[in-house]
């Protein structure tokens, strides 16, 4: 018995050095089952937002902004994967500013968890609506309502990344929102299109007041009217025409971080205009990797 134990110990020691290097902390550690490439201790330390306190902006703590504002909001709701703690800030910094693009697939996977939450919430709402409708109108035995028995999961029709300015793009080499959207796009089979463009470079946001920032943001984004892109959008809309018959187009705007929501609102407004000009109605959601 003793010798077996010592053998196991030795075997463990032999195995230990080959433990994979964690993409977050860089140390060699036992890999987590939840996120590939991430060690167990980093994985347990992720501040997931599983149940957002604010149903509107997806914040994990109370949120005065959403309850205060009475103006119509162009976004149905925002959901974020994690709370923007100092650890998450450091992680995002490594990816976005230092350019460690190996983190993109993992951050994208994390964003995918937020999508799962959004999907579940929306599906439940759908069922609730269907049930309240059907209770008023009992279905006939000849035509069972399959959609009520097997309601399809809610699914977005399109992903749109928040654009970065061309100066940023040249400096950084990539648009983090687009890379995150790419991961989601491939996992969920939802196309992403760069339907927004940034018309100018904004200065440092932190020096401005909230109202200044909001006013500033308004003119920053515009719909992308590039012909080829609109053709592709048209093609996509045709292909999903069947499911669009009785509902608006469900679009998710993707970004790395949601701070005040001014970026998202400005993007959503520009997007509403673009989609409206094409003769469609849109329901816009937003999904970000982190919520501050």
């Amino acid at each position: 018995m003793n010798s077996i134990m010592s053998w196991i110990k030795k075997a463990r020691l032999l195995i230990a050095p080959s433990l994979p290097q964690c993409l977050f902390c860089g140390k060699r550690g036992r890999p987590s089952s939840g996120l590939p490439g991430i060690c167990v201790s980093c994985h347990t330390g992720i501040p997931w937002i599983r149940c957002p306190r604010c149903q509107t902006c997806g914040r994990h703590v109370g949120c005065p902004d959403c309850s205060r504002s009475r103006e119509p909001v162009p976004i149905r709701c925002n959901r974020s994967a994690v709370a923007y703690t100092s650890e998450m800030r450091e992680l995002l910094g490594q990816y976005k500013y230092r350019g460690n693009e190996r983190l993109a697939p993992i951050l994208g996977l994390m964003l995918d968890k937020a999508y799962t939450i959004l999907q579940q919430e929306q599906s439940e709402q759908q069922i609730a609506t269907l049930q309240s409708n059907s209770s008023r109108r009992p279905f006939s035995a000849a035509k069972p309502n399959y959609s009520l028995i097997h309601p399809a999961l809610w699914q977005a029709d399109l992903l749109v990344p928040v654009p970065v300015s061309s100066a940023r793009l040249a400096e950084r080499g990539f648009n983090q929102a687009e890379q995150l959207a790419d991961v989601l796009s491939l996992r969920r089979g939802i196309p992403q299109l760069p339907l927004l463009i940034r018309t100018r470079h904004t200065g440092k946001q932190s020096f401005k007041s909230r109202s200044e920032r909001l006013a500033d943001m308004k003119q920053v984004f515009a719909g992308n009217t590039e012909q080829k892109l609109l053709q592709r959008l048209g093609g996509h809309l045709e292909s999903i025409a069947a499911r669009l018959q009785n509902r608006p187009l469900q679009i998710i705007i993707i970004d790395d971080i949601y701070t005040t929501g001014s970026t998202m609102r400005a993007c959503a407004e520009a997007l509403h205009r673009l989609i409206g000009d094409l003769g469609y109605a849109a329901e816009i959601y937003s999904l970000t990797w982190a919520r501050s």
Partner: protein, 758 residues
């Protein structure tokens, strides 16, 4: 970034150039600025635009791989296009494989040109107007210099820029930050000035990651690890951390002229090491991210599950751009030579679609990400090599010794080093900087010894650098240097320091900061050469090799030089001086061995051997501060508990590298508020506590090598008031490391005795 690329014929010879600002090049080569200062450009016979906008890495490849042929004089547009496509064959093919443009697209999309810009061969100058964009920037009329008040103003700006970039190696972002701080007038409009300084030969324009056969870079330190390394060997080693590194004293080394010639292949070997570990890691990660995101599977052409045809097309447009995992193509790599990060010497392991250059696969370096990303299209600005000065001593060694208050042993070592600096250097140019080892025992006062050397370098108008692995040493040394050299306030550089872009004749820096310099210094003093992080870190070793001017000098400081350096010194191949005695003139305490069972057994049984307790008791009785070193952090808490029981009332603490309160505890230990400190090797260097004794438990542990033991023993008896501290090696086995450490200490004492320093 993207740059313009052109070929120029001047006095019958062709070359290829890259440009950040073609307006400047046109003025330069037309000779229009002639007469104006800084515009001594030749009159070109012909200018052929090869591309208005090409990824920087490709432009540099064209420039570096250029082979002139006499037929070029007769070449037409199509010939030049064919030449460019041929030179970039490998790049274009790779790009196509990764989903980028195909060769035809490169040749037709108005990217690769071949258009004549200037032809003076047929008598009068025929100038052809080029329309379109250059490097994504609008073309300016040739008369306008992008808002510069004229050619003279631009020349002045180029002068300033070349001056602040002297000895630097900076990525675009860093250069911009430097310009913003040092030359605010140039900020936002510096590319024309860079281009002019480049044409003047004062600033080199490089791609941060490139196939670089021209510049060997390495070999400066001379005893570089054995060059040839089979791939098998590399794979066995498996990861860069264990790979020995460029300084590589763990391996067989030869110091010969031949060696330098082979540096190229060494770099490749070293790179493969890094590569293997990275690749394994990425296989692991990407392979499991999901089927959809796996490695090359991300290609949008692949069918994605039950995806409608139309959206498949959409996906193609929104191509997933993630870093691609690149499997080694040994044959290809061997033929072309591996590309390297010019800043840190590593082989780039990342590759991704890049909006800055527009390539689907732009290589980037993952080893030095912490300092901002170095990639194939990132602009790296370096100054042209500066002439070195000979650090001849202005004053005699005896005068210097008196001025700096050196002891006899310190003075002798300083004199030897000064003699080395003053030696003529003609023969050394092809071999790179000369090296000198200052082997000074712990507590010898090596900092003071360097003062006369710095003085000699400064007196000769040279620039000096002191590099140290530890930030606290930088912080401690800075005020001492400022006091010693009041006329030359040192530039103090460490992660997060304020003087990032200050220039001074003395620079004091932590090792990572060295990556931002290139052949900048006449005198480079490397402190604790054997200490972390130079040891086994090829990146920092590479950086250290890059910073000294080719005919400058390195001074290595160490109390415990690596075995290979010791051997070179003994065999007379490495000039050196030993300081065998401490500044107070007393011999080093010789460690005593004490037999004890392994610590983990003692802790399990809950008791320490009587002999150890008695020895500790003696130290406590003489009111000594006790360093108690253990090999494992896990033992600290248990041992403290035990000691508290044995010596109740004695204030004691435990600390390690993982202890957030470490600095505080060390301070309390220094102030004698704590009299016994249980710790791991983190305190082996740097901490000086008066009246201290040293106990090393499990001294036979493989974690304690000879150098570590000498360093730990070196904590004892450092003060003048208590020069005879006690050192105890406690272990079950009498290991080779312990024997060697003791014999090293004994032999230093013997030398000191023989030379009459005791």
């Amino acid at each position: 970034m993207r740059v313009a690329v052109y070929a120029v014929e001047c006095y019958g010879s062709w070359e290829i150039r890259v440009s950040l600002n073609l307006t400047v090049d046109r003025l330069w080569w037309k000779g229009e600025g002639m007469g104006g200062e800084g515009w001594g450009g030749g009159q070109a016979d012909r200018l052929v635009l090869l591309s208005q906008s090409l990824p920087l890495g490709w432009g540099v490849k064209l420039r570096e791989g250029f082979r002139a042929s006499p037929a070029m004089t007769l070449w037409k547009k199509e010939d030049w296009k064919r030449y460019v496509a041929n030179c970039l064959k490998a790049e274009i093919r790779q790009e196509q494989e990764e989903g980028g443009l195909r060769e035809e697209e490169w040749l037709t999309a108005r990217i690769i040109s071949g258009e004549s810009m200037l032809d003076r061969t047929g008598g009068g100058a025929k100038e052809v107007a080029i329309s379109g964009n250059y490097g994504g920037q609008p073309v300016f009329p040739k008369e306008s210099l992008l808002g510069w008040g004229g050619s003279a103003a631009l020349a002045a700006a180029a002068n300033q820029l070349a001056a602040v970039l002297a000895g630097r190696s900076l990525l675009q972002g860093e250069a911009e930050a430097l310009v913003a701080e040092r030359l605010p007038d140039l900020a936002g409009n510096w590319s024309a000035a860079v281009q002019l300084a480049h044409l003047q030969g004062r600033i080199r324009i490089e791609a941060a990651v490139a196939y670089n056969n021209r510049e060997h870079g390495g070999g400066v330190l001379g005893w570089v690890s054995k060059v040839k390394q089979s791939v098998k060997e590399t794979e066995r080693i498996g990861s860069r951390e264990q790979g020995g590194g460029v300084l590589g004293w763990g391996r067989k080394m030869k110091q010969s002229g031949k060696e330098t010639g082979q540096i190229g292949s060494r770099e490749q070997g070293g790179g493969v090491l890094g590569w293997v570990s990275q690749a394994k890691q990425s296989v692991h990660v990407l392979g499991r991210v999901s089927e959809a995101v796996a490695g090359r599977g991300v290609r949008p052409r692949l069918t994605v599950g039950r995806f409608p045809v139309v959206t498949g097309r959409l996906l193609h447009a929104a191509a997933l751009r993630l870093p691609q995992l690149h499997l080694p193509r040994r044959g290809a790599a061997a033929r072309r030579g591996a590309s390297r990060c010019l800043r840190c010497g590593s082989v780039p392991t990342g590759r991704t679609a890049c909006a800055a250059c527009g390539l689907a696969g732009c290589a980037y370096c993952e080893a030095c990400l912490a300092l901002g990303r170095s990639r194939a299209c990132a602009l790296l600005l370096r100054s042209a090599p500066l002439p070195a000065v000979r650090c001849t001593a202005g004053v005699s060694p005896t005068v210097a010794a008196r001025r700096w208050g050196l002891s006899a042993a310190q003075a002798a070592a300083a004199a030897a080093a000064l003699g080395f600096l003053a030696e003529p250097r003609e023969r050394s140019a092809p071999r790179g900087p000369e090296r000198f080892l200052l082997w000074a025992v712990t507590g010898a006062g090596k900092t003071e010894i360097t003062f006369p050397l710095l003085e000699a370098a400064l007196a000769a108008g040279g620039r000096a650098l002191i590099a140290t692995p530890r930030r606290d040493v930088v912080l401690e040394l800075a005020p001492r240097l400022a006091k010693a050299f009041p006329a030359d306030t040192p530039a103090v550089l460490y992660g997060g320091s304020e003087d990032r872009w200050n220039a001074s004749s003395i620079t004091l820096a932590t090792t990572h900061q060295l990556l931002r310099f290139n052949q900048a210094f006449d005198l480079v003093i490397i402190d604790e050469l054997d200490a972390f992080p130079y040891h086994n870190d090829p990146m920092l070793a590479y950086a250290a090799e890059q910073i000294c001017k080719p005919s400058g000098s390195f001074i290595f400081l160490s109390a415990t030089p690596p075995a290979e350096l010791q051997r070179l010194a003994r065999s007379g191949k490495l000039p050196h001086a030993r300081v065998p005695v401490r500044f107070h003139g007393h011999p080093l305490p010789v460690p005593v061995h004490l037999h004890m069972p392994p610590l983990h057994r003692c802790l399990k049984q809950g008791r320490l051997p009587g002999s150890l307790i008695r020895t500790l008791q003696k130290s406590l009785a003489r009111k000594a501060q006790i360093f108690l070193f253990v090999s494992r952090i896990a033992h600290i808490a248990g041992l403290l508990q035990l000691l508290n029981r044995i010596f109740p009332g004695v204030p004691m603490e435990g600390t390690s590298s993982k202890d957030p309160d470490r600095a505080e505890k060390v301070l309390e230990f220094r102030n004698c508020a704590i009299s016994l400190l249980v710790t791991t090797t983190i305190l082996e260097r740097g901490v000086t506590v008066p009246r201290s004794d040293v106990f090393i438990l499990d001294a036979d542990s493989s974690l304690f090598d000879e150098a570590a033991l000498v360093q730990m023993a070196g904590r004892a008896g450092r003060s003048k008031d208590d020069p005879d501290g006690h050192v105890v090696f406690a272990s079950a086995e009498w290991s080779k490391s312990q024997r060697r450490a003791i014999s090293q200490i004994r032999s230093m004492n013997a030398i000191a005795h023989r030379q009459g320093y005791l």
